[in-house]
Symmetry: C2
Subunit: 270 residues, 2 copies
């Protein structure tokens, strides 16, 4: 889970998402709308027979305040709660597993803030079963062949990998740019991701306000997406001053056509 | 506001209730589902030009933990936030204004818990304008006549109050019995209130569980309502183990017919 505003647990319920599968929560910054759902969510998780470890990735002061809340409200919890302390000023790997990595990068907001870059690891190539049968590839070699190795037959013949495997499934990537001032250097960091979430608090009519409040406009988000050559741009975090987000969408699409508006309960297949 | 679970601010928005009119929040006990909406609500209130004082009535440990949260998340608030420290073991007047009083009374739950008894003060009697004109009652005497005093004319004639005024509007009363074990002594405290909210976590099938978890069944709530002779009983706080609350309602109505089920967004005219 990335960020946990008030009501996150209710949204999970409405979406039918399993509480007990949740293992990592990444908090981009310590403004209430990005983390005040955490005490309630953890309190509810305490009532589930969850087991294992739940890690909250946040800054040192966040860990301190949430630890106090949790010690008070979630005394009887059935899981181990850990904090992974993030440094807001540098890029760092917050999580690295066999299948994916989550990297942080600094954003420019009124308080320390980071974005998250999530990348699936390269996936194994698909074995062509007729070919491996034909060349009598032993099971013990399969792993390295899936990783791209050639095969040498007992009589010294080299079978190039492309005859034994087909292309791996693509690895998906997602970048999340939480609250931030327009920062064109972000496009280097999020280069080529399949999906970019970028805040778009304001439309072009409030550029000055965006700058003053350390937020972005939809057009600015679209410029990042265009310069980074991402697959799709997802806008969100709209100011309540707007009745709807048609303006945000229109202005962004002029710059980057593959833009969509995030709204509560939306599901996107990356 | 009595109790402030997560999402209270969202419910207020959906109901069209004004944030800036909120001046007192009473917390019955420090379980997450009764107070974890407070940080988010106060954080949102900080964004409004509210002014004045907001008082949170809670126990000492609640005040301490919420003060920490608020110092962290609501730095730029536009109102003065005060805590009125409640004692969970005795009855006390938490608030006393010209128009109403709010009194606490101890409940029996797994952690210190109080209920709230809200009573409107007696209202002034209605002046019969033809009568006060006829007897030349001076404006300076009106206040005491509205409060029930007789009028003595300059020549010594006593005009009894009932000739000058009509019956005052009735004063409404409401009692809120938050999470509690069945406690028959409550009926004395909530005697004759117009509306009694009483938790009804379980139905009759889980009486043992109710006792074990320091909660009540719907029938037990109805017994309190019947013994107290209240106007209407409002049930709530249903266990998620039930698909709906038909059973609660049916079992309670057998004992106290004037029972209704509380559900999100419900409005009741007392």
């Amino acid at each position: 889970m990335i960020d946990c505003g008030e009501g996150a647990q209710r949204s999970m319920m409405l979406q039918g998402l399993s509480f007990t599968r949740l293992r990592h929560i990444f908090i981009s910054h310590l403004h209430g709308d990005h983390c005040l759902g955490l005490p309630g969510l953890l309190s509810t998780l305490s009532l589930h027979q969850m087991g294992g470890t739940l890690t909250v990735h946040t800054f040192a002061d966040g860990a301190e305040i949430f630890q106090k809340m949790i010690d008070f409200f979630c005394r009887e919890r059935s899981f181990d709660l850990q904090f992974n302390i993030l440094d807001p000023v540098c890029r760092q790997v917050a999580l690295d597993t066999k299948s994916l990595s989550v990297e942080t990068f600094p954003l420019r907001h009124r308080v320390p803030t980071v974005g998250f870059l999530i990348k699936e690891k390269p996936k194994p190539r698909h074995i062509i079963s007729d070919a491996v049968k034909f060349f009598n590839v032993p099971v013990s070699r399969m792993k390295e062949i899936k990783e791209g190795a050639d095969f040498v037959t007992p009589d010294g013949q080299v079978i190039v990998n492309s005859r034994l495997t087909r292309e791996a499934d693509p690895s998906a990537s997602y970048a999340y740019c939480s609250d931030t001032l327009f920062d064109r250097t972000l496009s280097e960091i999020v280069k080529g991701v399949d999906l970019l979430y970028h805040e778009a608090t304001y439309a072009d009519d409030s550029q000055a306000k965006a700058r003053e409040r350390f937020h972005s406009t939809a057009s600015q988000a679209a410029r990042i997406a265009r310069d980074a050559g991402v697959g799709k741009l997802l806008l969100g975090h709209y100011s309540k001053a707007y009745k709807d987000e048609n303006r945000h969408l229109e202005e962004a699409r002029k710059i980057f056509p593959e833009t969509v508006l995030a709204n509560e309960g939306m599901k996107i297949d990356i």
